[in-house]
């Protein structure tokens, strides 16, 4: 019964008959993130020639601050997208966290807590993030344990949370007050060595998430879930727990960004970040996160968010009607995915 000869006589280590793609055609260099980053650099160079104001410190600081809010939430949503899910509730979560934080700070000012340094601010920050945590937990449990579709669950949550934001405030903006309010503005809207703190938070969070995704078992399980959820379950990965965790992290990133926006705006309006969920998902997708799951990362989230903001800013500087930016962002989403599609077609042919 030896009609089959051994598959190979060569040593397993020489791989003489197994081709390998050149270094620039695999890994990071072959990813959508890499060429979107290249496109971003080209666009920035072109912009700096077209408008002398683009590279001015004031404008750069403005761009940095604007994209940081979206960028921070994009980091969280990217985690969800990598598992093959989606989170549409982040814009509403930003608003409710911001409002909760501001209202708690108002409520605590004038109480005995004023005499304890930082107490009022710490509690109100905790309350804002706590609201986000509960939203993320609700999303996660409904999706992972009950088995509802992520799209429908978070779409419902988008509406519920936005409604709560209006109901709680009766539509009025809530301004943070209290003994620590100056410190609050300092840590949410201040500068360190001339750099807005928001972008520092963004970069630190991106680094931490990169470390977690690529160098911890949790991160690996997040990718495994997006790659093949059934296989992940068969290998004994706690699928439910990982899923709940990514929705909680997504909501927390939204809550954190919402609180930063309160510092920036000086108030938490009920319509804060309305429609941001679409910009955030667009940023994640432009940066290379695949809505089918399994692919994505923090570098892409930051680059995607920055690209959208640079184009928006560029159109403003060029004096082009602001409505066109909406059209352009849509075009870029499709273009980014299209280029990736063409590239994979070329590789498989």
């Amino acid at each position: 019964m030896s009609e089959f000869s051994p598959a190979t006589g060569t040593e397993a280590s020489d791989f003489s008959n197994v081709g390998r793609a050149r270094w620039w055609r695999r890994g990071f260099f072959a990813s959508q993130t890499a060429y979107v980053a290249a496109a971003l650099i080209v666009i920035m160079i072109v912009m700096s020639f077209l408008s002398s104001a683009f590279l001015s410190p004031g404008n750069l600081a403005n761009v940095a601050k604007n994209f940081s809010f979206v960028g921070i939430v994009t980091l969280g949503v990217t985690l969800v997208i990598v598992t093959g899910g989606i989170d549409l509730s982040v814009g509403s979560t930003m608003a409710l966290s911001a409002i909760t934080c501001a209202i708690v700070m108002q409520g605590l000012s004038g109480t005995v807590l004023d005499s304890i340094p930082l107490a009022g601010m710490v509690i109100s920050l905790g309350a804002g993030l706590g609201a986000a945590l509960l939203i993320g937990l609700a999303n996660g449990v409904l999706i992972a344990r009950v088995g509802l579709s992520p799209f429908v669950t978070t779409l419902g949550m988008l509406s519920i949370v936005r409604g709560l934001a209006y109901a709680v405030t009766e539509g009025r903006g809530q301004a943070p007050t209290g003994p620590d309010v100056n410190l609050f503005y300092e840590i949410t809207d201040g500068n360190i060595a001339g750099v807005p703190v928001a972008i520092i938070y963004l970069l630190i969070l991106a680094a931490v998430i990169g470390l977690v995704l690529h160098h911890t078992a949790f991160g690996r399980h997040v990718f495994a879930l997006g790659g093949n959820e059934k296989a992940a379950a068969l290998t004994g990965i706690a699928v439910e727990r990982v899923k709940i965790a990514v929705y909680v992290l997504s909501a927390l990133s939204a809550g954190f960004a919402g609180i930063l926006m309160v510092g920036w705006l000086g108030s938490a309006p009920a319509n804060l970040a309305t429609g941001y969920e679409l910009t955030i998902i667009a940023a994640a997708v432009i940066g290379g996160a695949n809505l089918n799951g399994g692919i994505g990362g923090p570098a892409g989230a930051v680059i995607g968010a920055l690209l959208i903001e640079v184009i928006r800013n560029g159109l403003v500087l060029a004096g082009i009607n602001a409505y066109w930016q909406i059209v352009l962002v849509g075009g870029i989403i499709i273009l980014a995915v299209l280029v990736d599609r063409l590239r994979t077609l070329r590789m498989t042919s």
Binding site: E3, P6, A7, T8, T216, A232, L234
Partner: protein
């Protein structure tokens, strides 16, 4: 000593009798072919052994101890691993990541624990060398051939120190050269003293690697004999029912 013994095992799903009065014995290091047409009861039998569900009646013994599996984890904990037909691999991860999925090696750095990429890659490379498979630990599974994917799935079971591996149609839907690779992998498992139950529709595969063939028809075992005392013609007749039993 017998590795696995099924005694008078049966399974009903409501009014449907999927399996009745099955007795079989697998010895350590034995490669046994399990054949039968669709609906003959092969999958039900395999799922009982793999712990997907318990039998309705009868006993399952592993290493002479009676076992009651209710979840796949139970079977895995005693040393029974399954290589699924769709292989249950995550395409977006590397070979090493798949081999170690769910049991990643970690290094403590202060209060945190990080993946030990280097050791996992080395151990995966060693497993592939042992299986004589030309597969790189750090290549993505997406870019791999069917034979390499099989090697990854089998390396997973080696890592778990399996004593019995159930292989569900491993040679379906792969090229001729890759079939040869997979059959070689099965021979390596046998050399390492691991028992294999090969579920297959392909007569040449079963006759080239198995020592014994078990044929199922309509939920019962109709044949169980050494491969050199049977022939593809006989097995075909047993599967289709042209021959009642052997």
């Amino acid at each position: 000593m017998s590795l696995l013994v099924l005694q008078d095992v049966g399974k009903e799903f409501g009014a449907i009798r999927a399996l009745s009065h099955v007795n079989l014995t697998i010895k350590p290091g034995e490669v046994v072919g399990l054949m039968g047409d669709n609906g003959a009861g092969k999958s039900t039998l395999v799922k009982i052994i793999a712990g997907n569900f318990p039998p309705s009646h009868g006993k399952v013994l592993f290493e002479d101890q009676e076992v009651h599996f209710t979840r796949p984890v139970d079977a895995r904990s005693v040393g029974i691993e399954v290589v699924y037909q769709d292989l249950a691999l995550a395409d977006n991860l590397t070979a090493a990541a798949n081999v170690f999925l769910g049991r990643e090696l970690r290094r403590k750095v202060g209060p945190f624990s990080f993946l030990d990429h280097a050791t996992m890659n080395q151990r995966t490379a060693a497993l592939f060398r042992e299986l004589k498979s030309e597969t790189r630990p750090d290549d993505l599974v997406r870019a791999m051939s069917g034979g390499q994917r099989q090697a990854v799935a089998i390396a997973r079971t080696r890592l778990a120190k399996a004593k019995l591996i159930l292989m569900d149609e491993p040679t379906a839907a792969i090229s001729v050269r890759q079939v040869a690779e997979v059959l070689d992998l099965i021979r390596r498992l046998k050399d390492a003293g691991i028992a294999v139950i090969l579920i297959s529709h392909r007569m040449p595969d079963v006759f080239s690697v198995c020592e014994r063939v078990i044929v199922m028809r309509r939920g019962t075992k109709v044949a169980d004999k050494p491969i050199d005392q049977s022939s593809p013609e006989e097995v075909t007749a047993l599967i289709t029912g042209a021959k009642e039993a052997a």
